[in-house]
Amino acid sequence: MQAKKYMNPYVGGALLGLVLVFAFWVSGRGLGASGAAKSVIISGVKTVAPSHVENTAYYSNYMESHPKPLKSWLVFEMLGVLVGGFISGAIGGRLKFKVEKGPNVTSKIRIIFAVIGGIFFGFGSQLGRGCTSGSALTGMSVLSVGGFVTMAGIFGTAFALAYFARKLWL
């Protein structure tokens, strides 16, 4: 099946903005992503090594403020993202197992760099208290200084390094 055309980006951006405003109106908070992954990690560590969680300040503080880490707004929202993405992909004829990569790189290299990129992003999202969704997009729409700083950090760095990473993408 031929993949259908994507939405127009300005229409898509406006829709994304409306989803964001709806989240503010209902829940008093914006969108996010990395926080859900953190909930999964912390409940995973708690299941595997409960005493480690009790004896480590970072985990025990988190458990005190979030007694049930998986029953969190972001976890439910991210489950929705998986469903919504799947529905859109199904309608657009884009459901397919594949490695997406630049034309001049092998799948193996692409996979290795995807893991490395994920590690950086996961670490940075904790240091920056949120990722592109929670800190940059949501932060910018509430005019938070931190949102603008993080946004500038993410996009500025990626632009600055683009030349060195060109073999991956061009």
């Binding site: 994507y6 939405m7 980006p9 229409v11 898509g12 406006a14 994304l16 409306l18 989803v19 964001l20 405003v21 503010f24 109106w25 209902v26 008093g28 969108l31 992954a37 999964v40 990690i41 560590v45 985990y59 707004w73 929202e77 929705g80 993202v81 469903v83 993405g85 529905i87 884009r94 459901l95 197992f97 490695v99 990569k101 995807a114 490395i116 994920g118 950086f120 992003f121 996961g122 670490f123 940075g124 240091l127 920056g128 208290r129 969704s133 929670g134 949501t138 729409s141 509430v142 005019l143 938070s144 200084v145 931190g146 700083v149 950090g153 993410i154 500025g156 990626a158 390094l161 991956l168």
Partner: protein
Amino acid sequence: MGPLIVNEIISENANMLMAFIIGIGFGFVLESNGFSSSRRLAGMFYGYDGTVLKVFFTAAIVGALGLLFLSLFGQIDLNFIYINPTYLYSALGGGVIMGVGFILGGYCPGTSFCAAAIGKLDAMVFIGGIFIGIFVFTEGFPLWEEFFYAKNLGAPLMSDVLGTSRGVFTLLLILVALGMFWVSEWAEKRFARADYKLNQKEIKF
């Protein structure tokens, strides 16, 4: 009347259900715009595909304007909207590290989940990387604790820092966004590639 959860119009469990529904909308819009494609996302940094900037800035200004209008018509109390606190060093440091992750990995966390949902294997391993990165952060927390809490500015708004109103700053943001749109449209023509097609609907005027 909004936010509904803060004003106890809906229950905690209903809020979780709404989170799931909002997530469906979020994921659907991301995927429909091709945010499930790492080449499209990375295209922003080489100019051949400006979709991310267009979608991101349109969403940010619609979000900012939407909040102002809802507040103007008494539908939302902006005092109850969560504002991310600003710790200057970690906000910048975290952003820089995420930027490295973006250009190497081709996704950010939200887009990687969306791409994994349609079967992208590179997105699935990226998510594995996210988990590793978070685990390293939580396990090694004492090492970067000081940096994490340094330069706490509270939760300031750009409009406060610049000594202007939310409305005026939002107008400024709109002007910056228009500039970004113009640059993206120009770059897509200037850096167009023979091996890459912008497969999206056009707006005809």
